[in-house]
């Protein structure tokens, strides 16, 4: 008990120091990310833990598991996603889409062997993706400050609330055997991480500042989803005044 306490205190101190250090050099926080120094420290923590533990596990999983099996695993968890997509489409008043979503769940859960086969997609019932964060946003809830949570990733107060709601409603939570349940949670986590591997390598190539690139992309994407693909223009979406793009821009070579 004592040891954990002191370990906890030490890491808290370390974090505080890192935060102070970052606060000193970071630019003025943006409207969406008022806790940027804290989040950057969390991002660093994530990089260390993820890079040393989670990512290697995900990579080993991809290497050791044949693709059809990985697809089956992804489909199994995707089937649960479909269930929540359906629930959220109902909450958003989109009955037609919800019908498709529940149809998918019904079909895949039965003939698709508990979701392992995505028969519905083969039959042309398209997959959609909705979650509680999007629904709350459509209901008018503000997104709240942005947070980067180690081992979980980018989120906002609104989206994080949605994730917690989903966690408590998830059918996986009703599996009585704790060991089985935790194993499934673990596999689901590794599956999700493995799916992010290729996107991560793109991020590595693309970004000058990975923290910021990821944050901007996350917030823009969520905004896009809340507005169903038609977000109203933001102040910083504007192209620089027409004159700023020279009539004859200097062409390379």
């Amino acid at each position: 008990m004592n040891r954990t306490d002191s370990l906890f205190r030490r890491s808290a101190l370390l974090l505080a120091a890192a935060t102070a250090l970052l606060a000193g050099c970071a630019a003025a926080p943006s409207r969406d990310d008022p806790f940027e120094p804290w989040n950057r420290a969390m991002y660093e923590v994530h990089q260390v833990v993820d890079g040393n533990v989670v990512k290697p596990i995900a990579e080993a999983y991809v290497k050791a598991t044949p693709e059809p099996i990985r697809t089956g695993v992804s489909n199994f968890f995707g089937n649960i996603d479909d269930l929540f997509t359906g629930i959220n489409n109902v909450l958003e008043g989109r009955g037609d889409q919800a019908g498709d979503d529940f149809g998918r769940v019904l079909l895949n859960s039965t003939f698709g062997l508990g979701g392992i086969l995505d028969l519905a997609s083969m039959m042309g019932i398209n997959k959609d993706k909705k979650d509680f964060g999007i629904t709350f946003g459509k209901w008018g809830a503000p997104q709240g400050p942005y947070f980067f949570v180690p081992l979980f990733g980018p989120t906002t107060v609104r989206d994080g609330t949605g994730t917690v709601v989903r966690f408590f409603l998830s059918p996986l939570g009703y599996i009585p055997d704790v060991a089985v349940r935790n194993t499934i949670y673990g596999v689901g986590y590794v599956d999700g991480r493995a799916q992010a591997l290729s996107a991560e390598s793109v991020l590595d190539t693309a970004a000058l500042d990975r923290y910021r690139f990821l944050r901007n992309a996350y917030l823009k994407n969520r905004r896009y989803q809340v507005y169903e693909g038609k977000p109203p223009p933001e102040e910083d979406d504007q192209e620089p005044a027409p004159g700023a793009v020279p009539a004859a821009p200097p062409q390379p070579k």
Partner: protein
């Protein structure tokens, strides 16, 4: 060996005839579709590309994709109001570095596209429009479709893309505050250097 060469030479004029005519009149949506389908076909039929052979991927991107992008305008968009503050020489260097960065990014992503299928939404365009958005959707097995929009402009050499927006995320404007931070702290030359350093780094696998 010699026979292969001979046959290739014989077939060459055929290929040239079969190549679709590229001219200013090709509609923007037709252009996007042609380029996308040709690129996907090339990837699907080439084992080296699927394995991610860096030289071949780069070659494909530079020959197939880059000529259809207005890289100077993309750079101007990513720079925002700082573009005007840059000298023509700096603008040229920025464009060159940003282009390289985007090529590297695409090279990394392209080989993941093998199993994708694309669908194209009907184009909304009035006669005389010089700017349009071509809307497409990419479907991967077991995933919800991802919308990809190409902002296109009419130029004397035909339609060119100046922005690509993936599920609401602009590949160009997503750089804006990274760029403006770099300019604020170390000037336009600092940004050019940061981009050049990034581009010199090892290409992630």
């Amino acid at each position: 060996m010699l026979r292969t060469v001979a046959i290739t030479l014989l077939l060459l004029p055929l290929v040239l005839i079969a190549a679709p005519p590229v001219h200013a009149q090709e509609a923007p949506d037709a252009l996007v579709k042609r380029i996308a389908e040709e690129t996907l076909t090339t990837i699907r039929s080439d084992k080296d590309l699927q394995a991610g052979n860096p030289a071949k991927v780069k070659e494909l991107i530079e020959s197939k994709l880059v000529p259809n992008f207005d890289t100077a305008r993309m750079t101007a968009l990513a720079m925002g109001r700082n573009w005007r503050g840059a000298t023509p020489e700096q603008q040229k260097q920025l464009t060159e570095q940003f282009k390289t960065l985007l090529i590297r990014t695409y090279s990394n992503a392209l080989t993941n596209y093998r199993d994708n299928t694309m669908s194209y939404k009907p184009l909304r365009m009035n006669a005389g429009d010089t700017e349009v958005v071509v809307r497409t959707e990419v479907t991967r097995p077991g995933q919800a479709p991802v919308p990809i929009d190409y902002s296109m402009e009419k130029t004397p050499e035909g339609w060119k893309a100046y922005d690509v927006v993936v599920a609401g995320v602009s590949l160009v404007t997503n750089y804006r505050d990274e760029f403006s931070d770099a300019v604020k702290s170390s000037g336009v030359d600092g940004l050019i250097k940061a981009l050049a350093d990034k581009n010199k780094g090892p290409a992630p696998k």
